[in-house]
Symmetry: C2
Subunit: 415 residues, 2 copies
């Protein structure tokens, strides 16, 4: 049995341990294992947002001299620090949903065929593609995949073998299982079939080294409020490799994408490069929060972050085998750490009341995902090994005593 002392020893040896104090812990003694849904507030971000508000108050409209390039500047920072791509290939702004719409709408306009997405993909990706398919008279092809390990390269290969596919959208790390897709191989499978793959990096950016350029991935979107800790509803980013840029036109033509924007002329003349994907006026405070979050992640380094992430999820798997399995819990995530992101899904028929009981009675915040998954997210910058040990210990105790059975079935919409 893994002991609490062993978890404490892992913390004592953790090279990233010092980063925990770079975050606000305004929730007291709670064990927060849902940073994969909404990341913690970095101390530097709190200061930066205060300064950003004051900057608005002082500079007023003249602040735009510095602000106007922020979507590209912060995009380049993400590109260099986290994605491994060139300057001028990433842009920050709008939500993941809107960015996905812009990118997939542009692809739909230049490629015939079906739009392919896993049935188990995060909902907004499916819904955006369904909307585009319906509006353009296309088939929406739902790729069935293994609920724990999928989608695999073989599954994607089968879905593309029939031909007539415009593009595929899929998550690098699955939101429910935490399965880490083989980005390089699946991209190669797509290329083999002549089909571009759009990667949704929401659950991998900032916690898994990406190296998109070296691995051949050319199109992606991702969010910044999970492992990049930029706050509730912070803007997403969009990556379009340079080779694709001249071919893709965002369906949303806004004034920030206009060449010589302040001449305010007619007709629309799209800016070259990634800026052609800009739309309306960017949210400046939000971009400042993204910039701080990315800097902090870059300071820790993705290699160290990934190493600790693997160790943390390995501990959950070990504790599952040692203590949870006998309580009716099964592992909903891949056993192979090389195929796992930074959260682990634990399945149980009573997942919902167990989650509620953990929050209400055990001071542990996991996440519930329908129908039967308890997600434990372990962002390495602020999660301790002992947090994982304590959380699992409290969960074992609670389930063993049947405390979750007193929780009603009234499901609130958000954890």
């Amino acid at each position: 049995m893994t002991t609490r002392a062993e978890a404490l020893a892992l913390d004592a040896a953790d090279p990233l341990a010092g980063f925990r104090d770079r975050f606000v812990h305004g929730d007291g003694a709670r064990i927060y294992l849902d940073g994969n849904s909404l990341g913690r507030l970095p101390v530097a971000t709190r200061e930066r947002l205060r300064a950003g508000v004051d900057e608005w108050g002082e500079r007023l409209v003249t602040g735009w001299h510095a602000w106007i390039d922020a979507p590209r500047r912060v995009g380049d920072l993400i590109g260099e620090t986290l994605l491994g791509v060139e300057p001028g290939e990433v842009l920050v702004g709008d939500s993941t949903t809107v960015d996905l719409f812009k990118l997939c709408g542009a692809l739909t306009a230049v490629r015939d065929g079906a739009l392919v997405v896993p049935l188990d993909e995060f909902p907004t990706d499916r819904y955006v593609l369904q909307g585009l398919a319906e509006a353009n008279g296309r088939e929406l092809r739902l790729l069935e995949s293994d609920p724990v390990a999928g989608p695999t390269a073989a599954e994607v290969d089968r879905a593309l073998a029939g031909g007539d596919v415009a593009f595929v959208v899929l998550s690098h790390v699955n939101y429910r299982s935490g399965a880490l897709a083989d980005l390089e191989e699946i991209t190669a499978v797509g290329r083999h079939h002549g089909v571009p793959v759009v990667w949704d990096l929401c659950h991998s950016v900032g916690v898994v080294p990406l190296e998109l350029g070296a691995r051949g991935a050319e199109l992606a979107v991702g969010c910044t409020y999970k492992y990049l800790n930029a706050g509730p509803g912070s803007p997403a980013f969009l990556y379009v490799a340079r080779a694709w840029q001249p071919r893709l036109r965002s369906p949303i033509q806004g004034w920030f994408a206009q060449e010589d924007q302040f001449a305010m002329g007619h007709p629309f003349a799209r800016r070259d490069g990634i800026e052609g994907f800009l739309a309306g006026t960017p949210a400046i405070l939000d971009l400042a929060a993204v910039e701080e979050g990315v800097k902090l992640t870059g300071e820790a380094g993705l290699a160290a972050i990934r190493a600790k992430s693997v160790a943390l999820t390995e501990l959950i798997v070990e504790l599952h085998d040692e203590r949870l399995a006998s309580l009716g819990v099964s592992l909903g995530s891949p056993r192979d750490s090389a195929r796992r992101g930074s959260h682990v899904s634990l399945r149980h028929p009573d997942a919902w009341p167990i989650c509620r009981a953990l929050i209400e009675q055990a001071d542990v915040v996991p996440d519930f995902r329908a129908p039967d998954s308890i997600r434990l997210g372990v962002p390495p910058l602020y999660t301790r090994f002992v947090d994982v040990w304590d959380a699992v210990d409290r969960m074992c105790s609670l389930v063993a005593r049947g405390e979750h059975e007193r929780i009603g079935s009234d499901r609130s919409r958000v954890t």
Copy 2:
């Protein structure tokens, strides 16, 4: 001649004078006449944003219980306080460009015919419509209008007389001239021709009483960073009267518009009501800033705001006639205050260098709009009559001495 003492007397008698101290004046002695581009920072908003950041740090993901309804809650506040429409008809989120795309994309899908927009409309509106027209094989019909008074109801009537029009988009207050369109009559002209009118309220919301419901307007978008003082790039709002809601489907289908969102099921099942226009995860801090800005405006009251706005722009027109006209400046805004918003456009062939000289040498911040307009914006909550007097006085002095002629022609992109 209007004297400085007379301006000071107007300030002494101003019932809204006390609202000036509700804003941060971090720019010192500068005279800021560009709140129609980016509004000042309200003191309450600075505090609210600090609290909002702390709330993120404390509540983390559990904060979503309170945050998730913010787009609708703040929308209802705008609807009641500023637009005169019913609860459930307004939503806050995304940029004006994206909201306009959602609304006009939905209209394009259900109505045949040309998309009509004034040639003199704010650029993003033209560009969004041009994109929709090209993607859907429609004509983009550019309505020519009087550069000072237009677009008038007669001009809109002529544009619609040819028939085969899907819808019209136009600004309630023109961004360059400040002309206040006859919302009620133009909406009625549209109805006469069976053509819906989408109002862009960016330059009127918060400074002109709207009463959209009583006046028959059913579709609109508007921004919150001008007269609502919600900060650089703060989210826009979208108004869809209840009667239109069942007919319109946003082309961007995101997970926040999904019935039973957290069941994360398939296929997409659009929520009834205005929430069907939600897309991705809303930006929570930004929504808090919007809420504070709207509250402050509501506290002052639109009737008092409009009365002071008219008095301020009347003073500019008087000073133009008395002092600026003889220096080669002409009035680019309507003389009739009933047909004017809250900014005045002063035209001069050297508008660009005059603007630069005002900013760099005279501590006055106006706004330049191509090709020859100097905009003086006078948000009534924090603009004094003596500010207007001093700004015009400095402009007269500067132009009379030819100081602007020493400014180079290198045009920065933003004022």
